[in-house]
Symmetry: C2
Subunit: 144 residues, 2 copies
């Protein structure tokens, strides 16, 4: 039987991201971070959900070997630092960082800063969204 | 002078997604959707922010040629339909759909359903997040 075409993961509401914890090569471990590639069996991207409490900052800079990163901000207020330049972010902001960019980020607001980080291999996206899509005949068969 | 390693786009707060409108091959145009690949010059992924009001459903099924899709739910309650199976989603839920999956989604709650769709080419993600990262020497030089 072929594998299903879908998988599902529920991280919990944003306020519960702190229940997640991941191992980290520089910090030992990090609370308030959860990676989706493994639980979802993703093959073309890595995505994480993260949160920083008020006053918190990522205490190091990092870059990447092959992967483009996109930081998407879901809640709160913060700043992203890339190659010494500061970008103010809030709900609905997105910052793309090329592999070589030296980056960090911090919470500058009074509530949690909640964000997603998407990674994909730079230069692999030949087609845009709509060009890659194909219509499937028939209407969505919702039950109820 | 080399191009900057970053770009920035601000879509506005989630309640303002309806201010965005995109052309659509099946529907003419769609309100409440904004694509990030072009404004951010993304090279490895396409990402969109979308919203459906209460009672609304995407009126067609679609699949993809080469791209894996990840649906991430930011606010509200809904359902995703893939190959005839229904998945209930809410804040913090993520659904991966392989290119061949026939998919649709709908709002089943009383508030807007706000979500992100990430596309990347299936099978291109050799390394996970942490393995692709490299430390950059020096501390983040925040001003202020």
């Amino acid at each position: 039987m072929p594998a299903k075409n879908w998988s599902y993961f529920h991280a919990g509401a944003w306020k519960d991201i702190y229940l997640h914890e991941v191992p980290h090569p520089l910090l030992g471990k990090v609370r308030g971070k959860v990676f989706l590639k493994e639980p979802l069996a993703l093959t073309g991207m890595e995505v994480s959900f993260g949160a920083l409490p008020p006053g918190a900052a990522v205490p190091f800079l990092h870059a990447h070997r092959e992967n483009e990163e996109l930081y998407i901000f879901v809640k709160g207020r913060g700043e992203v630092l890339v190659d010494g330049e500061t970008i103010a972010v809030s709900e609905g902001s997105a910052v793309r960082v090329a592999p070589a960019g030296a980056r960090s980020w911090r919470n500058t607001g009074a509530e949690d800063l909640v964000y997603l980080v998407v990674q994909a291999r730079a230069g692999t996206m030949a087609r845009g969204t709509i060009e890659d899509g194909v219509e499937v005949k028939g209407k969505p068969a919702w039950r109820g």
